[in-house]
């Protein structure tokens, strides 16, 4: 099946700083989603982005499918951005399930 790797595994930021999270995947994807898992464990959908660029407020994401990576940008970070960020990919050859990366644990300090 498809392999998904995220970097960095841990990230500590000062409030107001910008950051870039990376997701590499080993095969072509039909679906690529970014999630934020809050401290209560809820996975919140951020982006559905198998290719191209999207923006939503302070967050934006870019997927370069031909080079098999996706980036999540967080600008002007806030303490409420803390949590774990996951990317997950779906490959037609591997069925309809999402394969998750190991996550990036973000802590934003005031």
């Amino acid at each position: 099946g498809i392999q998904v790797e995220q970097s960095p595994p841990d990230l500590i930021l000062q409030e107001g700083a910008n950051s870039t999270l990376r997701c590499n995947f080993s095969d072509s994807v039909n679906n690529l989603q970014w999630f934020h898992q809050n401290p209560w464990g809820q996975l919140i959908n951020l982006f559905y982005i198998p290719s191209g660029t999207k923006q939503n407020g302070r967050l934006s994401a870019t997927t370069v499918a031909t080079e098999r990576y996706s980036l999540l940008y967080i600008s002007s970070s806030q303490t409420t951005d803390s949590g774990v960020y996951f990317c997950a990919a779906q490959n037609r050859n591997a069925g309809n399930m999402l394969t998750f990366g190991g996550g990036t644990r973000l802590m934003v300090k005031p």
């Binding site: 039909n30 679906n31 464990g41 996975l43 959908n45 069925g95 399930m97």
Partner: protein
């Protein structure tokens, strides 16, 4: 409902007990998935339903795990004779269609602790 709901949110079981975890998907969603998330790791796929048909159960770790979705809406994940390694968060997700390009929406999870 507005989102995917799961119950109970927390479950403590003694080793050897059977447990049943419930998932209510978003109304009208055809596809339903179960994932298992161990502490500090990303979720891992368990099983997939399209309406009432279980099309993929390749991720179920053993024959003690059983899932059903008899009427194509609510799903139940049952774990028989629970063991300590079953302790995890069990997440349910649903998507509107049947294709590989559909966004999956996740419920809040059930945290299972086996003592």
């Amino acid at each position: 409902g507005a989102g995917v709901s799961q119950s109970p949110r927390y479950k403590v079981a003694k080793r050897g007990q059977d447990v049943a975890l419930r998932c209510d998907p978003i109304s009208g969603h055809v596809s339903l998935f179960w994932y298992q998330q161990a502490l500090g790791q990303g979720p891992e796929f368990l099983t997939y339903f399209q309406n009432e048909a279980q099309l993929d159960k390749s991720g179920l770790p053993s024959d003690r795990f059983f899932a059903e979705r008899p009427e194509g809406s609510v799903s139940t994940l049952k774990i028989q004779r629970t063991q300590q390694e079953d302790s995890a968060v069990y997440l349910c997700a649903s998507s509107a269609g049947t294709g590989v390009r559909d966004t999956q929406y996740f419920g809040p999870g059930t945290r299972l602790t086996v003592l």
